[in-house]
Subunit: 473 residues, 2 copies
């Protein structure tokens, strides 16, 4: 844990224990530094964090005082604030989990990607061959940020089909959604800023926030209802939040889709507090039912939503092409991209533009959704057979993840290590939160052929869970 964080925790405990009562003056920065042996910079940082969290207030030309706060709110802080910490261990664990899913001998229930055999390889390669024959030497320049014009036009048309009007110039083509999200976050924050995420959330958000020296506020999110808008508003009242990084459709890892009404409320709330929204919508085409749900971007009136999409989860993983409809931030995103990776590969952009100009994409997506729905159902059935009766398996429509909550005493990081030895990967709850409240949960990828190998792997997983359950009883 960072040194300043230790001081933050210590002072917060002391304030909670009324060692420093409301209104009391705290030691000056220099006094605190001398007492604690910490540097002035560290103490300054700790006081800053405490101030931004509402525990203390600074009075000009006087010093720092314990803030007046209601006892009730202090007893149970409404949101979980994660200050910057040294998350080297978490990053290293995420890395290990990702690496494990690359070994073809491992059953990839922990993977974030669907079975690549579901993708229209032949048609895509046909587009790539076509591009190989027509690409001109100068095409690299034509595909610099904001990216290939034909591709941006097609994307704008797809937004238009949902009734969302935006200009191709609002769209920036990126090296996958991962770059889109990272560029977006950089476009709307400075180090030290506060960013709201869901709890649990995509580990990429946690990592990006850590890497860019931002502070995260994780808002409780329900497996059915999604992010708690009341808690969100409380957080916006209390912290100087600059941006939210949220998923509105088939949230990773929980799987929920916010209702259109809640999306609208969300955007209105963020507009009220002038907060930018990074909308991670990489599963948008993997809906269930007839109609593709709207993104929150559909309710954006002033360009504050940066809507990030990708082809990696529904068409082709290896091309590394995504985009962001970046609203008022489009030019900033482009500039940061020029400094970071310069641009997205020209042949990949052109091949996708070619493929998307055919009808194949929608035909493929329809079939993909059907296959994924079937596989998910089979996985749910298989899991229910082997899981303890008190386990909870999420049942949200669309996508290909299940979120499984085991009885609380079963640690899924232990399960992860045991399963890996047995040739099975899962994504343990620890990846999706900086706290440990999901240490009994895991994410399960159902997008694999439901054959005897998968059945056997689920059997083994069930036995390992039973072992872990027994070990603690």
């Amino acid at each position: 844990m960072a040194k300043y964080q230790q001081l933050v925790d210590q002072l917060r405990e002391q304030i909670e224990a009324h060692i420093w009562p409301t209104g009391e003056k705290l030691p000056s920065l220099r006094q605190q530094a001398e007492q604690s042996g910490l540097s002035l910079m560290t103490v300054m940082h700790a006081y800053e964090v405490l101030e931004s969290q509402g525990w203390i207030v600074s009075k000009p030309q006087s010093g720092y005082y314990v803030a007046p706060r209601a006892a009730s709110s202090r007893a149970r802080p409404p949101v979980q604030a994660i200050a910057r910490t040294d998350q080297a261990d978490t990053n290293s664990f995420v890395f290990d989990v990702l690496q494990a899913t690359r070994d073809p001998a491992i059953m990839p229930f922990g993977s974030a990607f669907p079975d690549p055999e579901l993708f229209p390889q032949r048609q895509l390669m046909r587009s790539l061959v076509k591009v190989s024959h027509t690409l001109r030497p100068g095409d690299a320049l034509n595909n610099l940020p904001p990216g290939n014009e034909a591709l941006r036009k097609i994307l704008a048309q797809r937004y238009a089909q949902q009734g969302i009007t935006l200009s191709p110039d609002d769209i920036v083509i990126t090296n996958g959604a991962m770059e889109a999200l990272n560029l977006s976050l950089q476009a709307v924050t400075e180090p030290g800023d506060w960013v709201v995420i869901e709890n649990p959330s995509f580990y990429g958000a946690l990592q990006a926030i850590e890497r860019l020296k931002l502070n995260a506020i994780a808002i409780a999110s329900d497996v059915q209802q999604g992010i708690d808008l009341q808690e969100l508003e409380q957080a916006l009242q209390r912290w100087p939040v600059k941006a939210c990084w949220l998923m509105t459709n088939r949230q990773n890892p929980l799987g929920y889709t916010l209702s259109a009404e809640r999306k609208q409320q969300l955007v209105a709330l963020l507009a009220r507090y002038d907060v930018a929204m990074i909308e991670d919508d990489v599963y948008s085409d993997l809906y269930s039912g007839q109609d593709k749900p709207l993104p929150a971007k559909a309710f954006d009136r002033d360009g504050r939503v940066l809507h990030c999409g990708s082809f990696s989860k529904n068409l082709v993983a290896g091309f590394r092409v995504g985009w962001v409809a970046a609203g008022r931030y489009a030019q900033r995103v482009q500039r940061i991209q020029l400094m970071s990776t310069l641009s997205t590969s020209a042949p990949m952009q052109l091949a996708l533009a070619d493929f998307l100009s055919t009808r194949s994409y929608d035909t493929h997506l329809k079939r993909l959704r059907q296959t994924l729905a079937k596989r998910k159902q089979l996985a749910q059935q298989a899991l229910r057979r082997v899981l303890p009766a008190d386990a909870h398996v999420s049942d949200t429509p669309g996508g290909y993840f299940l979120w499984i909550a085991l009885p609380e005493h079963i640690n899924t990081t232990a399960l992860y290590h045991l399963a890996l030895q047995a040739g099975i990967s899962i994504a343990p709850g620890q990846l999706f939160s900086s706290g440990d409240q999901f240490s009994h949960c895991f994410r399960f990828n159902t997008a694999w052929p439901w054959d005897s190998r998968a059945e056997a792997a689920v059997e083994t997983l069930g036995q390992l869970i039973a072992q872990l359950a027994g070990a603690r009883r």
Copy 2:
């Protein structure tokens, strides 16, 4: 200018003017904040910068005092320290210059890329078609960081041909050298750290340092000899430098190549001060003469050099494939890449691996070097005809840039704007330094067919320069 920087400048001037004599106690942080109306954080930051630059020292439990320093060194600071500033304007100008080179109607003397018609388009596309036929759906996973194994092996073999032994596992394939450089910088620094660059230097280095909230120290670099190693050592003595970002072969924009001896001295010096080196070597294959010069990496004994290369300047710009031989930082670079862009496009990696496994690459490079040398000579001749007699045109072997120093009263940013109106781009000196000492210089890209259009553009450029020279006389 940032507020803290104003305070830094003000106090430095006051110290130089002996308003605060050596040994004098400065106002405390809180006093200074009250006097100046600045926040404590800003004052703290300013004092920190002054301390790291050796102007003041802090004494525990006492305060800040003016440091004892030799009058001579104060009269002429040996290196130019650039503290973080708001460089939004510079970034915006770089962006505008880059955008201008994309318009085919503009003569791209300001471009960083060579004429794409010089690249072996047909053979590359043959490799791409081959890949299109053999790519398997699962290949995306096999090409995640560190990247395609065959490609990393070929690169390791090319290092071995120069007598540099490194494992394919030291190499990480990236989205062009731009990503390689940025990942490297992130791998070896934290915000607030000090980084050495050349003066002048590649604008991408200045931008990355600004974006990652680092502090730059720009070391004077001579158009023939390259970076001044004495100044570098003085800087290492005086500042807590974490990393250098340097070019050793055909430095951009000056064009010099450090001698092998100086490269060895450089690496030894950095080892002595335990400083990491990011070596930007994207022009390594564009040498003149028989043998490819060694990179500084060849003298690296303990994995501190992150050697960044690319195919964008010598083979194909639009694929966006580069690499870093990252030594002891290889795993860190991979992890940061996984969080930033996930990986480099699989088809692009595979197509390059296929192309490089043939003899075509070396045949192409040989021809490319010959053509570039011829074009550069023609450009030099044309420029000498039109430039004022007191202009200086660099004459360094290899590469395709010329660095042109006009008489000091001619402002090349003004020239840039005039030239652009006449359909000609140049890269003004302002892009390559945060100071203004190169405001009479510009970089000129000679890698274009030397036809009547180019000749006419150089004529026009000469007339514009004469106009500007006359205007101030």
